[in-house]
């Protein structure tokens, strides 16, 4: 790496317009390797839109996203994932009709080594690859603490556990960087606490995290840095303590009435 190091993820002059509606005006930020960056803002501020643009689910009207110094413009979502940039979704994002371990196995898709021919002919490489995937699946399940629910249908799990399955699924896709979209929304206090611990473990593996979350204590607690979006613009950026005191941020949240900075979702 040379002198001025480019961040792991760079969002540069990104704008998204839906017809006449401006979802994101002009967004610029970088996420550095190893960091946990929180992306917050009132409802409709453009957070999920930003996620969709970064992960290739949505084409930006203008601007560019780079990951590991590679431009993501024009890449399909699965190609973005192959680069190591993996996302989760708001609400439940698991394969409901599959078992928990089945979900993780789906997530391990890119890890399989067997070719179509290996599979059809039942060659040794197929068996070996499947065995590896299963071992890998178990180690991910242990990491998120779901090994006892491995053979349950994902839809049969309590809500908090389903969110964990969603994270396990994303982890299985071998992220260098993980984008979590409101991971603790709808979780109770103990589930949230457990999730924060898991976030620490993920971090220890050297995975960079970009986090969208409404639960302010949680996001302030885990993030190294916070970016605040309002009406498609970044209105503040800095360490959590600074953000909490920023008058513009407080005004933005108060302006939306119901949601306060310290409001627990």
């Amino acid at each position: 790496m040379t002198g001025t190091r480019e961040p792991l993820l760079t969002v540069e002059h990104v704008a998204v317009h839906f017809g006449g509606l401006v979802a994101i005006a002009d967004m610029n930020f970088g996420v550095h390797s190893g960091e946990v960056l929180g992306l917050i803002g009132p409802n409709g501020a453009g957070k999920t839109t930003a996620f969709n643009v970064i992960t290739g689910f949505l084409r930006p009207t203008k601007g560019e996203v780079r990951f590991k110094e590679v431009s993501l413009n024009g890449l399909k979502p699965h190609q973005v994932t192959s680069l190591g940039l993996v996302r989760t979704f708001q609400r439940t994002s698991v394969f409901q009709d599959n078992t928990v371990v089945g979900n993780v196995l789906i997530g391990l898709h890119r890890r399989g080594r067997a070719t179509l021919l290996d599979t059809l002919l039942g060659l040794q490489r197929e068996t070996e690859s499947e065995q590896e995937l299963k071992e890998e699946a178990w180690s991910i399940l242990r990491l998120v603490g779901l090994e006892r629910r491995a053979f349950d249908l994902a839809s049969a799990l309590p809500y908090g556990d389903q969110r964990l399955v969603g994270v396990a699924l994303a982890l299985a896709a071998q992220p260098t960087m993980l984008l979590l979209d409101e991971p603790v929304s709808g979780m109770n206090a103990s589930e949230t606490a457990r999730f924060i611990k898991l976030l620490g473990l993920i971090r220890e593996q050297g995975i960079t995290i970009l986090l969208v979350e409404h639960d302010m204590p949680m996001v302030m607690g885990v993030s190294d840095r916070i970016i605040v979006l309002n009406y498609g613009r970044i209105i503040a950026e800095g360490p959590p303590a600074e953000i909490q005191r920023n008058p513009e941020v407080i005004a933005a949240y108060l302006g939306h009435g119901a949601r306060r900075v310290h409001h627990h979702a």
């Binding site: 994932t81 371990v101 789906i106 898709h109 065995q131 178990w138 699924l169």
Partner: protein, 346 residues
């Protein structure tokens, strides 16, 4: 448990010709077997990727025509050129049928999976109609409505043992059974693998599947290729068994028959198309002696609606739930052997 059941069933099928000598019944079983293979191939698309191919009979018919023409030979004028093809052995016809049907599956998949859903259904149904029109109008090649006659019987060439032509019902029965078992095993391996998981994943939640790096179009096209190739194999068997084919083979009603077999048996299950195939392969024969074909099709239509309303999952899942209520979703057997073992594999 399931494995034991499958083996007993296979043993039953293997020994069947030993005590069932009625050639008419054997004939019904052979055609049933051929349609069951086609239904299995349709199930790969419909059951596992969730794409409804309503032109599946096109791949079946293309397989039949390719195989027949390869073995009969033809000469065709295209513009200033004349193509002359001398007859080839049946095995070559079979292989070509599989390859060309698969190629057609690739083209249709490439074309329609960009938009999918209702589009795929409409493209496949129109494709079958066009293939029928070609078979009807390209008289030079296909003899049109006069049909291709005298298609040779299947002949197996075994190195060292020479060539064996399958004349009777019993050898044909075993041939169809062998291809059916092979198709079953191929599909079983496929859906139990990473590829099958990708297919099921994209059917259930496409965005989520994409987010873990599954290339949706690639797996849909792959499913279309394999499905079409297997249907082509069934078509080839059909051509060399009945020895005469005409453009009627492309009628929509045959696709409907395959769809009913899959939906009634249970789409997305391995045993579904087999059960559905057995029921709807033999049932019409029983009905036929009492009723005209229109009544048979009306019955099919009613049954289709009935199944969707009353038994949407199909027979196999319903029976399984009844028999093994606790193990609704039994863990994959192999998985249980990899219980949380700490430590690295040596």
């Amino acid at each position: 448990m399931r494995r034991a059941f499958a083996l007993v069933f296979l043993a039953f099928l293997l020994t069947l010709p030993l005590w069932l000598q009625d050639p008419y019944l054997l004939h019904i079983l052979i055609t049933t077997g051929i349609f069951t293979i086609a239904a299995m191939s349709l199930n790969l698309l419909l059951g596992y990727t969730g794409q409804l191919s309503l032109g599946h009979v096109a791949f079946f018919g293309i397989g039949a025509y390719v195989s027949a023409l390869t073995t009969l030979g033809f000469d065709v004028d295209i513009g200033p050129w004349t193509f002359v093809h001398e007859p080839w052995p049946v095995m070559a016809g079979f292989v070509l049928a599989v390859l060309i049907s698969g190629l057609c599956g690739y083209l249709i998949g490439k074309l329609s999976f960009r938009v999918r859903g209702a589009y795929f259904v409409i493209v496949t149904i129109s494709f079958a109609e066009v293939v029928r029109l070609v078979a009807l109008n390209w008289v030079d090649l296909t003899q049109g409505p006069l049909a291709l006659n005298n298609i040779p019987a299947f002949a197996l060439s075994v190195p060292g043992l020479g060539e064996h032509t399958l004349w009777g019902k019993v050898p044909n029965y075993y041939l169809v059974l062998a291809v059916a078992v092979a198709a079953y095993i191929l599909i079983k391996r496929l859906v139990g693998s990473r590829i099958g998981r990708a297919m099921v994943a994209l059917k259930e939640n496409e965005s989520l599947a994409v987010s873990v790096g599954i290339d949706v179009t690639r797996y849909l096209v792959l499913a279309a290729i394999i499905s079409a190739a297997l249907a082509g194999a069934a078509g080839s068997l059909y051509a060399h068994y009945v020895k005469i084919i005409d453009p009627e083979i492309f009628l929509f009603i045959y696709t409907v028959t395959m769809v009913i077999m899959v939906v009634a048996g249970g789409k997305g299950t391995l045993a579904g198309p087999v059960v559905g195939g057995l029921i709807f392969g033999t049932l019409p024969v029983l009905l036929r002696s009492y009723l005209g074909p229109e009544f048979q099709w009306i019955f099919y239509g009613l049954f289709m609606i009935f199944i969707v309303f009353v038994l949407p999952q199909g027979i196999v899942p319903a029976v399984e739930q009844r028999l093994f209520p606790s193990t609704r979703e039994p863990p994959p057997e192999a998985l249980a052997t990899v219980e949380p073992a700490k430590g690295e594999p040596q």
